[in-house]
């Protein structure tokens, strides 16, 4: 008992941090989501649940579907690219594996906004990528990459790639390589071994990666803002517009709360799955 109390002291800094920078702002957001605005656009606390009924206006449905769709595709792209990268580093990286993981993480030292601006330059009509395609004689006049859904999804996938690679790498790293040898001893083809042994063993890592990519991608607004066109408006842009142009913080806050609740469902699903896996002793 005494010992338990002693160790709980170490929870205090983290607890204060969470209270100050998570609980209080979240509380304010929820409080404002029921508020109104005055003539100068200042948010004022009040009881105005209509902000919430507006969230479910059918006008916003396509925006929500689009956001989830883009995020799902981005997650799939991250998985298809990220898994082989993690696999190669974990299984064949040898003594360079830590260096290689550092190389994966390094671009993320630069702010996401700045990296997205770099893509604007790369994808511009007379940007580097079209220049390269032109020199190689693949396209004559270049491709209009920018302002398309492809650019937005690409931006999301690029932006959150590390969140896929790292957990998958960790799962592969923990995996006992003799399992793969056992699969081969049982006359499994490389593909059969991968799908029956490696993938199921690292499934929790894959799931963690998917959740870590999907959740922020749904709420992202930078990619659609900088790389998107007239038809790529996402939930994040909608919320950003309420806070920024429309000066309607209460409605923006209501949208935020609803989106967080929506994302929480996915989070709970993930946590339960992870807990079950831990109970079953699968890493």
């Amino acid at each position: 008992m005494r010992e338990g109390r002693y160790w709980s002291i170490f929870l205090i800094p983290g607890g204060i941090w969470l209270a100050l920078f998570f609980a209080v702002p979240l509380g304010i957001t929820i409080a404002i989501s029921f508020g109104i605005t005055d003539d100068l656009g200042n948010p004022v606390y009040a009881w105005n649940p209509e902000n919430y009924s507006r969230v479910f206006d059918p006008v916003f449905l396509p925006v929500l579907i689009r956001s989830v769709g883009y995020a799902l595709v981005a997650t799939a792209v991250c998985l298809v690219i990220g898994y082989p990268v993690a696999y190669t580093v974990a299984r064949h990286g040898g003594r360079f594996r830590h260096l290689l993981i550092l190389a994966v993480v390094l671009p993320f030292f630069v702010n996401y906004l700045v990296r997205t601006y770099a893509w604007v330059t790369l994808l511009a009509d007379d940007g580097l990528i079209n220049g390269l395609l032109g020199t190689m004689g693949i396209t004559e006049s270049g491709v209009a990459w920018l302002n398309t859904p492809f650019a937005v999804v690409g931006g999301l996938a690029y932006g959150y790639m590390a969140f896929m690679i790292l957990p998958v790498y960790a799962a592969l790293d923990r995996m006992d390589p003799s399992l793969i040898e056992a699969g081969k001893d049982l006359y499994g083809s490389p593909a059969a071994t991968f799908f029956n042994v490696t993938l199921p063993t690292t499934f929790q890592g894959v799931l963690a990666g998917c959740v870590l990519v999907f959740l922020p991608a749904v709420g992202d607004f930078v990619s659609a803002q900088l790389l998107g066109g007239p038809g790529t408006y996402m939930v994040g842009n909608l919320i950003q517009q309420q806070f920024h142009d429309a000066q309607n913080w209460p409605f923006g806050a209501a949208l935020t709360v609803v989106m967080m609740a929506f994302l929480l469902i996915w989070m709970v699903f993930y946590l339960r799955s992870a807990a079950r896996a831990a109970d079953e002793g699968v890493a």
């Binding site: 948010p43 209009a144 803002q225 007239p230 038809g231 806070f243």
Partner: protein, 371 residues
């Protein structure tokens, strides 16, 4: 060199700042009395200058010169939109000189948020009055009692003559040009976008009629298949070649023409259904700590030579003798870029709408974007 890249670049920052403002200051209300706002200011150094403007919207050389001349420091902060400016003011930040647009002056001075500016304290104010009598009593600030005009601008259409020929139709309909499909951008600004469609439909620029706004919404949604995007950075989209036709402010056209190799290909027209005309102003917030220095600073910019330098830098005309002359020089190859006093008098200006009407405008714009 423009008014607009910042809008875009700082969006992320703005959202972060908004969140911080919320958590830090909660709902601090700031309600100065009329007496506080009307206190006279004498133009003499009373401290360093806290300057709050769009980024790159004033020649930094002039700011350096001011520091040297008066032995003060100028501490610069930037906003990326009027809403962003207001959020910072509401959070309790104190600036000495700010640059609100006409519509926001109307809101701010009615809330006693701007100090009275005694024009007799400004040695160079006759540069404004001798240029036009328009600012003797503009709609947004009776007798210009709380402001000094900084810049004026029109909204129109910039197009590539090498792609689309020397002449468009002179109508807002040009933003629906099939030949430029996928190369058209509309300003990512709810007022400019809705205002443009209102004018095209023959409505008042500032209409708040629900049926009219519904029609305007349909007009803009119908345009989307032709658009490449809503641009918050018109200078880049135009000068990079991504745009052939773009909804633009005249001053940004000047900046584009300064940046490209063949400026004669970048033409500008104002439209016959109506020309939105805007003005930016100098103003001194009621809670400014150094209003005297701010007065000297405004006077410094009105000096004809300084005004001319500033125009060269930012590409927007200043409505005073020195600035206007310099701008006429910039606009001589493309006279449509110029802003005439008649346009200022007769043009359509965005009014500050009551809260409910503003909400309706925003809902309309959100629906356009979401469609």
């Amino acid at each position: 060199m423009n008014r607009f890249t910042r809008r875009d670049a700082l969006r992320g920052a703005a959202l972060g700042a908004a969140a911080l403002g919320l958590s830090g200051c909660g709902m601090n209300r700031f309600n100065p009395s009329e007496a506080e706002a009307e206190r006279p200011i004498s133009a003499k150094v009373d401290g360093d200058l806290y300057y709050f403007n769009y980024s790159e919207y004033m020649d930094p050389g002039l700011i350096k010169g001011f520091e040297k001349r008066y032995g003060v420091r100028v501490i610069e902060s930037n906003f990326d939109s009027m809403q962003g400016m207001l959020a910072k003011l509401n959070a309790g930040n104190r600036y000495d000189v700010i640059f609100p647009t006409a519509e926001w002056v109307d809101k701010l001075h009615k809330g006693n948020r701007l100090r009275r500016i005694d024009h007799s304290q400004l040695r160079n104010y006759q540069q404004v009055t001798s240029f036009t009598d328009y600012f003797n009593d503009p709609w947004y600030d009776p007798e210009s009692a709380h402001t000094v005009p900084y810049a004026v601008y029109t909204t129109g259409i910039c197009w590539r003559a090498d792609k689309l020929g020397d002449k468009l139709t002179g109508s807002w309909r040009d933003l629906w040009n099939e030949e430029a499909k996928g190369k058209i951008y509309v300003l990512d600004d709810f007022q400019e976008a809705l205002g443009m469609a209102n004018l095209l439909n023959g409505f008042d620029l500032n209409t708040t009629d629900e049926a009219e706004l519904e029609k305007t919404k349909q007009t803009l949604i119908g345009q989307k298949p032709l658009l490449r995007g809503y641009s918050a950075d018109t200078i880049t989209t135009m000068s990079s070649g991504n745009a052939w036709i773009e909804h633009m402010w005249n001053g940004d056209v000047v900046n584009v023409r300064n940046q490209v190799d063949s400026p004669e290909n970048y033409r500008y027209e104002t439209c016959n259904e109506g020309i939105p005309v805007g003005s930016d102003t100098f103003a001194i917030p009621t809670n400014a700590r150094h209003p005297g220095t701010a007065m000297l600073f405004i006077d410094w910019l009105l000096d004809p030579e300084h005004a001319a330098m500033n125009i060269e830098y930012c590409g927007y005309p200043m409505p005073n003798d020195g600035g206007y002359e310099a701008f006429a020089g910039l606009a001589k190859d493309e006279p449509s870029i110029n802003v005439t006093v008649e346009q200022l008098r007769e043009g359509d200006q965005f009014r500050s709408l009551p809260r409910d009407d503003l909400t309706l405008w925003n809902e309309t714009w959100t629906a356009v974007k979401a469609a």
